[in-house]
Point group: C2
């Protein structure tokens, strides 16, 4: 019996992530890794998690913390998130919030709800790899979106070849992998363009809270709600996460959207895994209430210093012809090497010198971007950043070395 023969056609599009395979190799001592996309665990508010967990499991509280719960999520957590969304300018109530098992699951369920086989999804090239992974299961065609809303809708329609463009996926704040942020004008242009092609917008706000400098820009959902006067007619589905602000290991994220969409997503959640873990929701609600407002500024200061260390080192050491983004937050800087470089070949040499990063081609649905790479600055400390970038710049300075690219 070979079960492989019984797989559905969609299984062909479920491939191993190169990044995740790569990350398995990085436990080597002495490795300076810019490859991950994970928070520094030394910065987790562990003491608050200990307190919250003790209370959630104390006496009779344990009976509810360990029991089944409603698919939409715990009222305390939905309420906290609704208030948080209101502080960002989104007129949300608890009924506009679904708690998911991380915002990755929000992408999966939104894909499941909207994408029929052959429908089109518009997204930037490069884009978050996990979004491609989540959507691939529903067999869309991808069309290229300019997240700044500058690409004519007509071009997207042509690329869609008659398919409905159901979703436009964008990370407006400090995007993974580029670190770039959309201006308010760009967000408004994107809203207009989505209306023109008739698509819903997925606003992936995973890094939204991690702004180190510059002015806050309202979420796309806030801008749309301000235009329409109500969430209920908004085309934007906001996906939030506690993974970058409190801790990722509890797998708690959310969708904020029109109640009619949330109600339908609740049914998907029920059929998908019943509900997000009860204990985790109780803990996160309490930790968020207690320290979100004081902890996140600490993160911003720490990660901001690392970003500055990275930008400074890039400035000092990188040879002429190398370009990089200058993010105002998030976890990533995006490097573009001169066109003749292959970042995968460079990675081979870098690993020999105990430096790791992610070649950028992985983030392009069409396999382009060979000469790009992603650098993470949230995990390594400032000294490692200085040493690692200097080493990397030295290797870039040696030139493209075609022999390493096979």
């Amino acid at each position: 019996m070979i079960l492989t023969d019984l797989y559905a056609p969609r299984a062909e599009r479920m491939k191993a992530s190169e990044i995740r395979e790569l990350l398995k190799l990085l436990d080597k001592p002495g490795m300076i890794s810019f490859a991950g996309g994970i928070p520094d665990p030394a910065l987790f508010p562990a003491r608050e998690f200990r307190h919250a967990t003790r209370r959630a499991l104390d006496g009779d509280a344990a009976q509810s913390s360990l029991q089944y719960a409603a698919s939409e999520g715990l009222p305390a957590l939905r309420g906290w998130i609704a208030e948080h969304m209101r502080s960002l300018g989104v007129p949300a109530a608890a009924e506009n919030i679904l708690i998911t098992s991380g915002s990755q699951q929000a992408l999966d369920y939104i894909g499941k709800l909207f994408i029929g086989a052959g429908d089109a999804v518009a997204l930037g090239f490069p884009t978050y790899l996990g979004a491609l992974g989540a959507f691939n299961a529903y067999e869309p065609r991808y069309v290229r979106l300019d997240p700044a809303g500058n690409r004519p809708a007509e071009r997207m329609r042509e690329e869609a070849k008659g398919a409905a463009i159901k979703l436009a996926y964008v990370t407006p704040d400090f995007a993974n992998p580029t670190g770039e942020t959309l201006s308010k004008a760009a967000r408004l242009a994107l809203l207009a363009q989505a209306a023109e092609v008739g698509a819903a917008i997925i606003e992936d706000a995973a890094y939204q809270a991690l702004r180190f400098e510059g002015e806050n820009i309202p979420p796309i959902l806030a801008l749309e709600a301000a235009q329409s006067g109500t969430l209920e007619t908004c085309r934007t589905l906001y996906c939030g996460s506690f993974s970058k602000t409190l801790a990722p290991g509890l797998r708690i994220g959310w969708v904020c959207a029109a109640k009619s969409v949330i109600d339908k997503l609740v049914l998907l959640k029920q059929a998908g895994d019943l509900h997000a873990a009860t204990l985790n929701q109780a803990i996160v609600a309490e930790v968020a209430d207690a320290v979100f407002d004081t902890h996140v500024p600490r993160l911003r200061a720490a990660y901001g210093a690392r970003l500055n260390a990275m930008l400074g080192a890039l400035e000092r050491y990188m040879p002429e012809g190398v370009r990089w983004t200058t993010p105002e937050g998030g976890m990533f800087v995006w490097l573009t090497l001169p066109g003749e470089f292959d970042a995968t070949g460079l990675l081979g040499r870098a690993l020999e010198h105990d430096v790791a990063f992610v070649p950028g081609a992985a983030f392009f649905p069409d396999g382009s971007g060979r000469n790009t790479l992603r650098l993470n600055f949230s995990k390594p400390d400032e000294e490692m950043i200085e040493v690692g970038i200097r080493r990397l710049a030295g290797l870039v300075g040696e030139g493209p070395r075609q022999s390493q690219q096979s």
Copy 2:
């Protein structure tokens, strides 16, 4: 903008579960509910969870318990489960285990991997409602399976009308909703029948550990592995859960299957929600290691006494013509009323008398089973069972009362 118009065709099959809607009404004080399917929270090993959680968040341990983890699951938990599977006669190693967010998610991901639109899934009528919910998203046709393997494969093929029968779904131990268990002979017949139609088998083992009396029967996967000599060629996908043995609120379940299938399911997990919550896996591994072997016998004794109370009360109070199953474990007894009864009408009257149950029709993919109902005995205590069954029997004794059925 009405996003509803953008939903994929599969969204039509995602409907609210009648049971879950019903359960929302049961918080009324004084209600004797046989409607749930949930463990008694007073029996959770709360003290052990407190200890395990404290250790998982103590000092540096917190940094890994709160961090991202590998999609396949934590080695300690996979290892414990593999050993548990070996104790059941399944020759499993850790590489044969995927940790899921409850066994509900195992059903979702297996459906996603195998079911293409229009493929057929064979399952018993009645069946677990959550399985229908999980599979519906992948738009299968359902064909009727006799879980005991007695229905000719030819009939299933006719019902499939040319579609491939990809999966045969069965709960061999103390099934939800009937409480019935498949004999060893029936399991072997089912294996032969699945081979005849070329389907993979989903063995939903949610209640497997809750046997109160009678002899253990090997899992279908153990019988198949004994025939084939290796897991790697087995068609059976075993779905396990800690929800009924330790606690459901942590959402930890697993799939045990051929490594080639697990490797593919790991990719689905990665794309679906990255991984099961790290903290929860760490806690469950420790609690399972510490008390599974002593705690589960306590549950069996407690639930066994409640089952006996229910069977005794049914015997004493139910009028002639009412039939019920006599399970040897699990959480449910299945009642069949005389043919002229409508269990939904009966529920209306029962709720007026503060007694709740689930009408059986919800568990039939074709809406039959109007005169059946499901009784849960794991949540109410023995005194409530006695009072509730007596009341319910009194209502049944009043006759079908057609006027209540509208």
